[in-house]
């Protein structure tokens, strides 16, 4: 792990090698064993299907990413806002945390019928679902980050005459950043998953909707093509936040 981090080029090489072996085995199994498409289509067929449906898939990916990104942004704002409120007014902790935990003790998809009922099958229901899923993770990681602060550093700030807000701004928020950004990185994948799953339950478009339609039409090559696109979109989002994380946290 540490060696792979020390030389990123080696890590990239290994990753590419691993992916290549997986694809080769997959292709070999599908072709060699003559698996039917509804069990496992060959990778080459999926890529061909991906190319032929590229316009539909691009539209769908844009639709899903829009929902995921807006929901993600909203969820981050809500999670950070609640955590900061708790940091400034500690009494809020016992009011907010049990409620947030209760809401999140059910898999967030469990709420989707209600959310679809309340917000319709358009974009807004997906955004609400993603925001719900993301905000809880962000709230918890931000709180953990804010609590991680060194008591003695707070004392030092107080001895300089800093107010509670001053301590928060100059000390606790920067201290919380590593855990917040780790939470944000993990939440990227979650946001895309929740958007897709909610689309499968009712939508006008998006990758989840494409998958659902393809299943109805018994077009498993297209199901796999949509999954490939979704996976690529998730990875790109994850990579982007990971990249920002490394840029911002230069001191860790």
């Amino acid at each position: 792990m540490s060696r792979a981090l020390a030389s990123p080029s080696l890590a990239v090489q290994r990753g590419i090698l691993g992916a290549f072996i997986l694809v080769a085995c997959w292709e070999g199994a599908a072709r060699g064993l003559h698996l039917p498409a509804y069990v496992l289509p060959a990778v080459s067929d999926i890529l061909a299907g991906l190319w032929s449906k590229r316009a539909t898939l691009t539209d769908a990916a844009g639709y899903t990413l829009l929902e995921a990104l807006v929901g993600y942004g909203l969820g981050c704002l809500i999670g950070i806002g609640l955590a900061v409120a708790i940091a400034l007014v500690p009494a809020l902790r016992t009011a907010i945390l049990p409620l947030a935990t209760a809401i999140n003790s059910v898999p967030v998809v469990g709420y989707s019928p209600l959310i679809l009922l309340w917000f319709g099958i358009g974009v807004s229901s997906k955004i609400v679902m993603v925001a719900m899923a993301v905000s809880f993770t962000i709230l918890l990681s931000m709180l953990a980050g804010l609590d991680r602060v060194d008591r003695r550093a707070i004392d030092l700030m107080r001895s300089f005459g800093a107010s509670r807000f001053g301590v928060l701004w100059r000390l606790r928020l920067p201290t919380a950043l590593p855990l917040l950004l780790a939470g944000m990185r993990v939440s990227t994948v979650r946001s895309v998953i929740v958007a897709i799953v909610t689309e499968m339950l009712g939508a006008h478009g998006g990758l989840g909707w494409v998958i659902y339609q393809a299943v109805l039409q018994i077009d498993f090559v297209q199901v796999w093509a949509a999954i490939f696109v979704a996976s690529a979109a998730s990875l790109a989002f994850f990579g982007l936040i990971g990249f920002l994380e490394r840029k911002i946290l230069f001191w860790t």
């Binding site: 030092l156 001895s159 001053g166 100059r170 230069f250 001191w251």
Partner: protein, 285 residues
């Protein structure tokens, strides 16, 4: 040379009355944490411009004393706390005393200059102005050319100098230094002590300095306070009238050695007490 030995308070305890108003006066100070008495009847004063060092056995309440003077903790009711001639609560001292804790506590996301100006920023000074001020002070703290470095790129001695600079830039009459050189190796430590004396003589701030090291206490201080075992109070108040500026070789002079003997005896006695009481506490189990 007077070697005042308690219980005869000697000439040193009369001094606060004879001198003009002390900058800081503590009288009959108690502090208990639940069943534990950390301080009991502590009395001490620090005159303007004075360098006072505090030594004592571990766990004697030195840190409690410091936290009170830094304004972080209130003493028990009934104690006397006077600062700049006025009676006050410990909380009133927040923002009026420049405090340097044991660990450097530099913020890893701030470079040397931005760490140094932390207190100035808290006071509301514009960043550019604060930075300009800090940049001028860097050479004196042996940090010239390091302004853009981050704490993880600095040696222990340099980190400690940045922390000291942060304390100096927070321009208050009283500076509280809590074992600032405790974590440094002996050589760096000796250099930092000499350097601190130079800086102190130039800026003439009042310093209250905690240490474990008797040599350090004598070498730096105008006066050394020896604390008793817990509950802490001042056992011995020893004037150090070695001439200034003090040269490193002073530590082998007969006067220095005599002072050290006196102080070590007092500390030894208290260390034994706290050692025995800690054994006595363990026995019942």
């Amino acid at each position: 040379m007077q070697a005042a030995r308690l219980p005869n308070p000697g000439p040193t305890t009369e001094a606060p009355q004879a001198r003009p108003e002390p900058l800081l006066y503590l009288g009959a100070l108690n502090k208990t944490f639940g069943p534990v008495a950390a301080l009991s009847g502590l009395q001490a004063s620090v005159g303007p411009g004075e360098f006072v060092t505090v030594v004592g056995p571990s766990g004697c309440g030195k840190s409690t004393l410091f936290n009170i003077v830094a304004g972080l903790e209130e003493p028990d009711a009934g104690g006397i706390l006077r600062f700049e001639g006025k009676s006050c609560h410990a909380a009133d001292l927040l923002g009026r005393v420049s405090f340097m804790p044991q660990r450097d506590l530099l913020f890893p996301w701030r470079n040397v200059v931005d760490n140094a100006i932390l207190a100035l920023e808290v006071e509301g000074m514009p960043r550019d102005q604060a930075r300009a001020k800090a940049l001028k002070m860097l050479p004196e703290f042996g940090l010239a050319g390091f302004e853009k470095q981050y704490p993880n790129q600095l040696s222990g001695g340099m980190r400690q100098r940045v922390a000291l600079m942060r304390t100096f830039l927070f321009e208050r009459d009283l500076m509280l230094l809590d074992e600032p050189f405790g974590a440094l190796d002996a050589l760096t430590r000796a250099m930092m002590q000499r350097w601190l004396l130079d800086v102190w003589q130039k800026y003439r701030r009042t310093i209250l300095f905690i240490t474990h090291d008797v040599d350090e206490a004598i070498f730096l201080g105008d006066r050394v306070l020896v604390m008793t075992a817990r509950p802490g109070s001042v056992k011995l108040e020893q004037v150090v009238d070695l001439p200034r500026p003090r040269r490193p070789e002073i530590v082998t002079s007969p006067e220095f050695v005599r002072l050290k003997r006196t102080l070590l005896d007092a500390i030894e006695e208290e260390s034994m007490k706290s050692f025995q009481s800690s054994i006595a506490q363990e026995k019942p189990q």
